[in-house]
Point group: C2
Chain length 450, copies 2
């Protein structure tokens, strides 16, 4: 019986374990989990902290017993400290301080990522929080419950920053977001503006162009966030949400090649350079289908897919991870912002000849109750007419994310803007228009070019 | 200046007119409209009759002035009675009884469809209604307002029948639906059952397997609907919604070839067999991409696309209508039912080797508020593994229709079930799962086969 050891019990690690057992039920699969929370949806933490999800235990994609019933051996509170590729073993320290060694035939490294620590003074002060792990979530929840802060500064205006601005506002805090450049710069400024307006409508203060240099102790137990421009903003707590870094040190010490932004280098089959060692998820580089190169873009969807591929190959399969389009979506108060593929400038930098058309229209026929406006932008290569990217911002009820999924599906198939217009998409007045907004925007693009 | 005459002012006719003027603004475009309601969304009539759309005028896709400002000449209340292909002229009678002749260089026939008249006695009795045209809608609205009926029988359980069961219930009527076979048989029985349950939840009575043979005068001014099994159901009014027939007589008299179910035969460029005569919309045959043959399938989305192609070719363009996948969606009370491509038995009859997998899951992560169940079925060819069809039924909030659009986009691109799993679709807990339900169902299919 082959021994498959997996380091990491989050999306990639558990997906790999499940896939391996599914295809080769005779495999002995052991997952080393650093904490006690395997297979938790850490993407759900902001909704636990907002109070929308009352019970943190419901955040589990699957319960421990469900994983065990699939024949997966979980070793909880086992912190892997060393990989020995020659001996094919992994050493871990338990929470009780015991050192244990696990022998593998095949190893999958799925150690995930950690919160980025920007060069800001005072990150370790009490009242300063990060949000990445279940432990981070519990610490913040406990602070919110026991200290009852009235105000928060969020450093960073990306996905976690935006979700937590929503969550802490729901929780009754007065929230200020400090953005290094602009709010949600994963979408174009015209769409980012809608997000900024939604934040303002919900009384979140936003400061754009703020370069935070220090967090300091202020008066009456409060904190002060200081920016390079000399601004000082006082708050009871600070959340630092400036991105993630791959947790690749363990693999690197064992000799794994490291690539972009410190992430583990992998082949399309998710192999590292070490024999019989695969890696997947937020700790690895990800192939971008449109850029045609590796990037660091940690996303839950990608982690699941990479884990599934690694799990299949670990038991002798032959599958490649086809790559990411960077499809992403975030809900901020009543708004949903989603994107896939490349923005105009990203496409230009990658050597395409992009042109982007934008359109505001209704999510469904305006005469039917509940119609809300939708802002959509499509980026298309002018020479090949192939679709390169799409962005949509609209109301939570406006089926924004699945419309972006239509665009993602089209991009995956090298669809031209002409073929997008020809797609046979569904229509009834309560859900759409005879031409879906995505197709209207394609027609708008054609009108610019024809 | 070329003279383009278009017979018909609904989806196909107006789309053709707009496209012709867009590409060749020097073209003289005249649209003969039989009634006074060009470019109306007849798909919206059920929502006007339900009371959800208070003002029928908002059903117009565009106002008359908007069409005129695009340089389109509208001849309202002009009923075309004859096409003379040799003289290249169309004769029309105005509502005032005047006969007028229009000379064309190119003609587009977009005469639409009429309600099917099943072989049932008593279709012309007062209190019996059809729903296809604006006039039908006005007649029904007037009857509902002035006669205040308490009960209705709907003959037919397709899209219009279902929408009107919803509409008349909202309007306060007690509704009975008589289905020849089962409810909404455009989807598989397991999904149709959800629709039947939704009807029951809203106190709509459903009789399946009812072969209606006559509508008769009953007591106290009521009607009685008699079925072959000897059942008699009494109601104040009856709506007959058993489908549509193409309005092809005008073209046929001029020598146009007629094909399946009496629809006008067209080439991929939407040409008829008559020189310089195109046809589009509910009066023509439609190419089905998966069946590889012409079918009669009148849909608003298709009419728009065919009209656009006809308009482009009428002014010298070279575009083909790529065909339909039969993508359809309907909202029934709080439920949305959508499909694209082929059902299992349709695929089998067409010579595929289909296998269908089904799945019930949540529209988004169950821990986030508002999650609702989704029933999804995917049909895949076992030899090529190419996706052939998909059906989803779920709550109005569950982004059902756009998920079917993802499937439609995949089918258009001959996507395999394996590639469907690989798609980089969006995820945030309030809108989905790390694997979208469409992908989970694809994995379910793979589990059946692997």
């Amino acid at each position: 019986m082959a021994h498959l050891v997996i380091i990491g019990g989050s999306d990639a690690g558990i997906s790999a374990a499940i896939r391996a057992r599914e295809l080769a039920p005779e495999t002995d699969v052991t997952v080393l989990v650093a904490d006690r929370f395997p297979n938790y949806s850490i993407c759900g933490l902001p909704f636990y902290l907002s109070g929308e999800v009352p019970d943190w235990q419901t955040l589990a994609h699957r319960r421990i017993s469900q994983l065990q019933s699939r024949g997966i051996t979980l070793r909880l509170a086992h912190d892997a400290t060393q990989i020995d590729p020659a001996a094919k073993s992994v050493t871990a320290i338990t929470s009780g301080g015991r050192v244990r060694t696990f022998i593998y035939d095949v190893l999958i490294v799925a150690t995930g990522a950690v919160s980025a620590r920007p060069s800001i003074e005072g990150l370790d002060l009490p009242g300063v929080f990060f949000l990445r792990s279940m432990a981070d979530g519990f610490a913040l929840q406990q602070y919110l419950t026991t200290s009852e802060p009235k105000s928060a500064v969020i450093v960073g205006a990306g996905y976690i920053g935006m979700e937590m601005a929503d969550a802490l506002t729901r929780r009754g805090l007065s929230v200020t977001v400090l953005a290094r450049s602009t709010v949600l710069k994963t979408v174009d400024p015209s769409l980012g503006r809608l997000v900024r307006d939604e934040l303002a409508r919900n009384r979140v203060k936003v400061v754009e162009g703020a370069a935070v240099i220090a967090i300091e102790k202020g008066r009456r137990g409060r904190l002060a966030v200081r920016s390079a421009e000399g601004r000082r903003i006082h708050a009871d707590m600070v959340l630092v949400a400036t991105g993630s870094d791959p947790e690749s040190a363990l693999a690197a010490r064992a000799g794994a090649s490291i690539g972009i932004q410190g992430a583990i280098r992998v082949s399309p089959a998710m192999e590292t350079n070490l024999p019989d060692v695969y890696a997947a998820g937020d700790c690895v580089e990800t192939w971008h289908r449109l850029l045609g190169k590796y990037v660091y873009m940690p996303l839950g969807t990608t982690a699941h897919k990479q884990g599934r591929v690694a799990g299949e190959n670990a038991i002798g399969g032959h599958r490649d991870f086809p790559g990411s389009l960077g499809t992403q979506v975030v809900k901020i108060f009543d708004l949903v912002a989603a994107r896939t593929g490349l923005l105009d400038r990203e496409a230009f930098e990658a050597g395409f000849l992009p042109r982007t058309a934008g359109l505001q229209t209704w999510d469904h026929k305006a005469y039917y109750p509940g119609a809300t406006p939708l802002l959509i932008r499509l980026t298309v290569d002018r020479s090949s007419r192939v679709l390169l990217g799409g962005q949509i911002v609209g109301h939570y009820s406006a089926e924004v994310s699945k419309r972006v999924d239509v665009i993602a599906t089209a991009i995956s198939n090298q669809t031209t803007v002409d073929d997008l217009v020809d797609l046979d998409l569904s229509y009834t007045p309560p859900t759409g228009s005879p031409w879906d907004p995505v197709q209207m925007c394609a027609q708008e693009w054609l009108g610019l070019v024809d």
